[in-house]
């Protein structure tokens, strides 16, 4: 799928590495000649809270923020976070969602239950829902911290960039000793979704 511009919304839980994932996406987009703007929040929210990144690319981008109902792609690092920010997706937009569940305090302490119907509710938002098990893929590489790059790999099917752009971005961004495992994570993530299944 080739688009001249796009709004990508990333949602996750503080500590999951959404920041690195969005950096890699930005670098890959910039290397491919797009104007890019990205916005996220640092500080207190990062301590295990909901974290989001707004990433926009095109020939010329003004606002660093995506409006609700305008995102072309939502990449969620945690299942329930996909639902929390589902209203940012435009009608017909695509979602790549990590099936991993991380309990928020109210669930972890037994005050309320983790919603059991997340997948159904997400499907009601878009029929272009792609649920992947990025945690299992990362664990199979014995590096749990690569969940973020596995998701970048899965999401890469929805962005107008060649694979080489991501790998180049990873090489530029990461210390050398982490490049190989992250390139592997990217490829594993990309292999989680078969292009034929994608609309």
């Amino acid at each position: 799928m080739s688009v001249p511009r796009g709004d990508v919304f990333l949602a996750g839980v503080g500590g999951q590495g959404t920041l690195l994932a969005s950096e890699v996406l930005c670098d890959a987009l910039l290397l491919s000649g797009f104007d890019v703007k990205k916005s996220e929040v640092h500080g207190m929210a990062q301590r295990g809270g909901s974290v989001t990144t707004h990433l926009r690319f095109g020939p010329k981008v003004y606002s660093p923020l995506i409006e609700p109902g305008k995102a072309d792609l939502l990449i969620a690092f945690e299942k329930m976070e996909a639902l929390r920010f589902a209203h940012y997706l435009r009608p017909g937009g695509a979602m790549v969602v990590n099936a991993q569940e991380i309990f928020p305090p109210s669930v972890a302490t037994g005050q309320e239950r983790y919603p059991q119907d997340v997948a159904e509710r997400l499907r009601a938002v878009t029929d272009r829902l792609h649920m992947v098990d990025a945690l299992a893929a990362a664990l199979s590489m014995r590096e749990v911290r690569t969940v973020n790059i596995v998701l970048v790999g899965a999401a890469s099917h929805f962005l107008p960039l060649p694979e080489a752009a991501y790998e180049e971005a990873l090489k530029a961004r990461l210390p050398e000793k982490f490049v190989a495992v992250n390139v592997q994570a990217f490829r594993a993530g990309r292999a989680l979704l078969q292009p034929a299944l994608l609309q």
Binding site: G43, M44, S50, Y62, S63, P105, E112
Partner: protein, 603 residues
Amino acid sequence: MSVLVKKEEIRLLSGNEAIARGAFEAGVKVASGYPGTPSTEILENFVRYEGVYAEWAPNEKVAVEVAIGASMGGVRALATMKHVGVNVAADPIFTASYTGVRGGLVIVTADDPELHSSQNEQDNRHYAVAAKIPMLEPSDSFEAKEFTRLAFELSEKYDTPVFLRTTTRISHAKGVVRLEEPAGPAFPPGFTPDPAKWVMLPVNAKRRHVVVEERTKALREFAETWDGNRIEWGDRSLGIITSGVSYPYVKEAFPEASVLKIGLAWPLPERLFREFAAGVSRIVVVEELDPHLETHVKTLGIPAQGKELIPIVGELDPRIVRQAITGEAISVRAPETVPPRPPNLCPGCPHRGLFFALKKLKVTVTGDIGCYTLATLPPLGAMDSCICMGASIGNAHGMEKALGPDGAGKVVAVIGDSTFLHSGVTGLMNVVYNRGISTVILLDNDITAMTGAQENPATGKTLHGEPTRRTDLPALCRALGVEHVYTVNPHDMKQTEKVLRREVARPEPSVIITKAPCALLPEHRRKKRPVYEVIADLCTGCKACSRLGCPAIEWVPFTPEESVAAGKKARQKGMSRISPLLCDGCNQCPPLCKFQAILEKKS
């Protein structure tokens, strides 16, 4: 690590990275600041450049004083802080406005509309007006770098400190920046004595005030002609006056409209506003927070709409701007209802142990600014106030004086190591001096944690990563006159509680230092740590461990059938589980389990 410098290179930088780059290109030699979201990354990036000096000061006042001294010494100097940091630094800033500068002096104020990580959302453009200091306001990373360079030139040309104001969406948004070669000031370093300029005795300051007023007039003339204040003519039926991050929102929402973009938030031009007003049929001022531009426009007698349409609270975005001006409600899908996910203390956080113990004492806890402010949230719920950096100690002392003998042993102040050194020391001095009896708990996790792990005077390392002398916290407290200073390991909650009870009851000031490193420190993460697990057969579902509020401890609810199937009593509603991915091995939870169900996991 040095950042490579190439000619005419294009980079994607955050606003903070762009300011650091701009300061480097401007030849800044000395930079000082105190970490605070969203300003922190400016100095963290600046320090990586070759040939610069940068430091974390204990607070923003010291940072500005250091920068003023460097400017007096004839080099370009930078001070960085978040919006509320300017409150702390206001004293030197207001008089630096009178003295002016030698080397260019720029003060960055990073404001936080929407309070992403702050205790208020004050609009620091008021400081520019009040201190009579010019203020540049970039609209994206590109301008952040260009304006930083310009700020140093203006500072020297007009003999004034210059404010550079960002907001969170400038500081933490990334955009394309054009890198250039560094170029410093056209004079060598060196201090030239000039008492009439540098010694602000009333007689001198009186004369400098006249200079300040003349300077503002000259800068207003600059504001009329500088192309950073510019009219972008479009459709003349709608004219929008805007600045900062609101400019890209306006361009996004109203690409056809005529726009007056203001890059210098103070002093403001007059003729330019009149020219714009004459050319459009309707004027709307779009700015975040207070009506700064709007008030000026209206003072000129120009009819305009502003805060009656644009929210005064929180940050804007293109949708808010569009709806406010057109009045059209754009329907989007309503957000789904899901359990909230507020920030939480990390697994293995030493603060959790302290607050768990503290909660049992049922005392009033005056709090402070840091990760530990999160202990306010359930299930810990162990903090009663949080005002500003260092406030906890003064608050506790004041409350004790208010309550008299009834308050004895019922109020405790809680403050972090960096916050204590920032502005808690004087509060503690006051307790001792004024015969207070407060118990002060000093949470020493060996780092400034909330802002992402910055060094401070008690960590033994500088911003450049060099080893240095540590401020000895117990010795400092004793030097202030506190006789009872005790250090405990907050992960050992039993011992911590014992010391707490003893010191709270003591009718004298005391300091309890809870000493354990932040769980996010790389040195800690590299250590081999155990991982704990809940033995399912032993867990009775009593939830004693859940009350810690540790993210690694998860509650697994049971139906009565599931309970019986698991060999439990039908009325057991669930059991605890420890996530091996999250457990930090802090050993806080095992002693809480009366059934010895939490054991070290065998690998």
